[in-house]
Symmetry: C2
Subunit: 598 residues, 2 copies
């Protein structure tokens, strides 16, 4: 319906000049990441996204995936697209080369994932969930399990799924009831129902490898009694060939507001006695293992918010340039103009553009922290990167996905009445984006994770380290010449002051009054996100300022970075200060009503 062109110049600028891809490329094992390779990979991925995935986005929305007699048929064109994607080697990007992976850093894998998501969010969910399964098996699978499954999950010959949720176990994964009973041969019989299983059944591949959380007979109650099992749709023989169909089936597909092409399955295990499962690692450590992939999955969902906003932005720009309506606000000419000339339309586009760029930088920064946490040979640096990644992950997940909803809503608004008409396509982005603040831990859960686990637990150490880093940037940009730089310096500094005050309040208050902190946690996360976005935007402005002086510089592109940054300073950063009193003073009435006063 609508075109998508990967914003490769923006991506490359952010990677090279804001986040520091070259530093990541210097980590052990990443020497393959040369500038040439980066260019080539981004260009090729961009073509697949533009030519194959993006044109199917609307088709997928309108047709959805369909279930008939236990068989799921994906939307027209999706299976072919999947094989173009898999045969191009794209499924293997970030994984272990020992099993066919390309071993590229997350800092490069995320921009690629961004393209799939912008082009076709429903499609992108299949690789994303598969990634979780691969990471779990890479980290915790036995040699036998790796041998049987990993290579094919990495090549894309099969796909993997994550089976956590049950009707009574959503945010509270400790409430899982699915049972695993041991057989004499070391396998287990799995019985139970799982819901909200993304690509739990589909027609892309011959086999699907389900990773399933279940309780063994001797398990203790709660999260410490949950084990992880591999449960293949078809049993896999020693030689890798497929054996009998396992006792599991797709019992239903959800009828969702968005991401229609992504089959969200109800999975029934063990209708006929039990599905055969294989324990991963040790009993009762399933939740612990899950956390291996959780940060990464949350980063991936944060990326979705930004990526879908980018798609909506491209469409809104296109419409605003083409739609002619009403005369210009100023001047004498009565002829109608393209609506991009109207200040409020322009403001909406700038809101989208400036926050998408900030969110993109945050996603890539979080990815670079992940790479450093895993690979930095300096133990202190790796530890600091790990702490930074832990801190940034809930912020990236929640801030970027809230932005996904807000910015796709602006995308609708820019279209006026046409935005509400489904054929325009703007509404799809808005509907698709709405899931991201919910799944992979609601944004309320992210906010509590930030406040309690990432800030309170270490006494604010990681947060204050980032604040110091941000403050250095604010000082540096304030020292540069020009009103734009000075304004960013001042507004960023003010936002940082607000975050610092809020962080101190969280650290001081959290132990005595958890309810107060929890009441303000969402606003605290928001002000932190807005401020980090400002910090990264300031870095982009300074980089653009420097690059402008180089011969052959793309002045128009670099100039846009500075103007866009100024807009962020003027219009977005003030949110942080505005939220400070909400965080620190806003809790008094939150719990004041009795239930029956609602």
């Amino acid at each position: 319906m609508t075109a998508y062109n990967a914003p490769i110049q923006d991506m490359r600028f952010t990677l090279n000049h804001v986040v520091g891809l070259s530093q990541v490329a210097g980590l052990p094992g990443y020497d393959v990441v040369t500038p040439d390779l980066v260019d080539q990979v981004l260009d090729e991925a961009g073509k697949l996204a533009r030519d194959v995935l993006a044109p199917l986005n609307w088709v997928g929305d309108q047709n959805g995936s369909k279930l008939e007699n236990g068989v799921v048929t994906t939307a027209p064109g999706f299976r072919d697209a999947y094989w173009k994607y898999a045969e191009g080697g794209w499924n293997a990007v970030p994984f272990d080369p020992d099993f066919g992976g390309q071993g590229l850093p997350w800092t490069l894998a995320l921009p690629i994932q961004e393209m799939w998501t912008s082009a076709n969010m429903s499609f992108s969910l299949c690789p994303m969930l598969n990634q979780g399964a691969v990471e779990l098996l890479q980290a915790h699978g036995s040699e036998q399990q790796k041998k049987l499954y990993l290579e094919k999950l990495i090549s894309g010959e099969w796909t993997g799924t994550m089976n956590l949720t049950e009707p009574q176990a959503g945010s509270d994964v400790g409430a899982v009831r699915t049972k695993a009973v041991p057989n004499e041969d070391g396998t287990w019989l799995i019985t139970g129902q799982k819901i909200f299983i993304t690509y739990g059944e589909h027609d892309f591949t011959d086999n699907i490898i389900h990773l399933v959380l279940a309780r063994t007979p001797t398990a203790p109650a709660g999260v410490k009694g949950i084990s992880l099992f591999v449960v293949p749709k078809f049993m896999v023989n020693e030689d890798g060939s497929l054996g009998a169909r396992n006792d599991l089936r797709c019992a239903g597909l959800e009828h969702k507001m968005g991401i229609h092409a992504s089959p969200t399955a109800v999975m029934a295990y063990g209708d006929n006695g039990g599905a055969v499962g294989f324990l991963v690692g040790e009993e009762n450590r399933g939740i612990e293992y899950m956390f291996t992939m959780m940060n990464n999955a949350r980063l991936g969902v944060g990326l979705q918010g930004m990526a879908i906003a980018e798609r909506a932005y491209q469409q809104a720009v296109d419409y605003a340039k083409g739609r002619v309506q009403s005369r210009a606000l100023t001047g004498k000419d009565p002829a109608p103009v393209a609506i991009i000339k109207h200040p409020d339309v322009r403001r909406m586009l700038m809101c989208m553009k400036s926050q998408i760029e900030a969110a993109r930088a945050l996603v890539y920064l979080t990815a670079s922290a992940l790479d450093n946490a895993h690979r930095n040979p300096d133990a202190d640096a790796a530890k600091a990167a790990n702490a930074l990644n832990d801190l940034l992950t809930p912020i990236t997940k929640a801030w970027c996905t809230d932005l996904g909803v807000e910015l796709t809503s602006l995308g609708v608004q820019i279209h006026g009445g046409m935005g509400f008409i489904e054929e325009t396509g703007a509404a799809q982005h808005y509907r698709d984006a709405r899931i991201a603040p919910i799944y992979e831990g609601t944004n309320g859960i992210q906010a509590n994770d930030l406040a309690f686990r990432k800030v309170l637990r270490d006494g604010g150490q990681a947060a204050f380290a980032l604040i110091a880093e941000m403050r250095a940037t604010a000082t540096a940009i304030a020292a540069q010449s020009g009103d734009d730089m000075a304004t960013m310096g001042a507004n960023l500094s003010d936002a940082i002051d607000a975050v610092e005050t809020a962080t101190k309040w969280v650290v001081e208050t959290g132990k005595a009054d958890m309810t107060a902190v929890a009441s303000g946690a969402v606003s605290y996360l928001r002000m932190f996100g807005v401020t980090i976005g400002g910090y990264l935007t300031a870095k982009a402005m300074m980089a653009a300022n420097g690059l402008m002086r180089e011969p052959g510089a793309d002045a128009k592109f670099l100039d846009a970075k500075i103007i866009t940054g100024r807009f962020y300073a003027d219009q977005i950063l003030p949110q942080a200060r505005g939220l400070l009193t909400v965080v620190t003073q806003g809790h008094r009435a939150v719990m004041g009503l009795s239930d029956d006063q609602f």
Copy 2:
């Protein structure tokens, strides 16, 4: 799917103690509005909304209206519901008793309209558009036109529609191209295509009376060359019986993101030579006449945002009380609790409740200003009320409809994963609510209307009068005892200061730099809305405080008003101060990029 119970106690409290229904009831011609009548009317409307309209809301969403061979079939049950509504006399509530209307004030009509909208927004659009047609004919129709059409439009035997938009004429209604050519007999032949015509075709009634904007052959260009015509679907004989089918047809229904049951028609006039139309009033005065009903229509759309949020709130409360998930944040009990016990869920519910109540008060206040503008025998008071209504209308339309989107989004979020599943029903409210910031003048247009026409044009006079009124309330509540009152007083005062500063800036800047004002207009409207909401909330708190001391007071209800007000003071009012710099400083980069830098 989900129940709706009209919040009659809240409505009555707001009418009696915040907005002053008794003052309105004292206006000439409204002496029928006794407390008994009000009670009876609200109760009866509440029953129809709960028992007839609300159960059809989900049915309407899933079935939509369907077009086949030019005939539109509305969703199952809608036609019957329409007749229950019309036969109950509800269609006649605010209209001229000379033509069968009940002559009730808008201050009472709006709460009733709120119930229809909360119960079934798609249904409510039919009476709402009909209301526009009735108002136009009441004010500008000839005696003959009134005689032929008004009585039946008021009784509901027929319905009326508003035909403004064409593909090239959306926000810019001056670009209308539909033609009207005079016949010798004084009638006109209408040819052209209209789009986005709400209930342009349906099966509720035997006839549909279209009010159509068109250009006559001698018309000047632009908005000053547009005339208004009555174009009935079936010609009406002198005796009121139906004659021949007119040359107009429904050429298509839009496929929309929400309000599926409301048929949004493409209307083709004059495929076979021209539809017969009758000029309303004088040639070239169509746009001027439109403004007769525009304020009221915008108020009605503002109401939609609040009403749909109320429906979403009721559903979210119900879910939050019933859904058990995770242990309480504090205490030792490991048993899971209803999610309403979790602070962040509570925060979301309070965000909904506090802002819905503020928005409701604003809608009713705007209605009372309308009644006073029309009926207050004191010319100065009527003039002041008219100015207040003019000032409040764009704020009510835009702030309440933005809240409609934001609060229905919170409603989805409270449901977690279930919120994204269509059968839950929360998603429908979110989809339905999204149109309200767009139609009847986009919220960007409302913001410009506020800044340029309602504030700049009179040098801020009406705005400063309201600011003075609000300041008196801030002073009064600050003088009452208790921390809740003091906090509201302080935070309201701070918000008023911010609005006053912004208003001065608009007045000072607007003439020299329209672009600067237009760039900040949406934020200016927002801070004004938030502050008026605080002012009305403060009035509610003081009223509750006073009523609490009366014998037989409902302490639980009144106490909730104070706690909810405190929440508004803590969490919502700080937005106003936060937006001040965005309004006054935020414009510098808005127009900075050239088109090709997007």
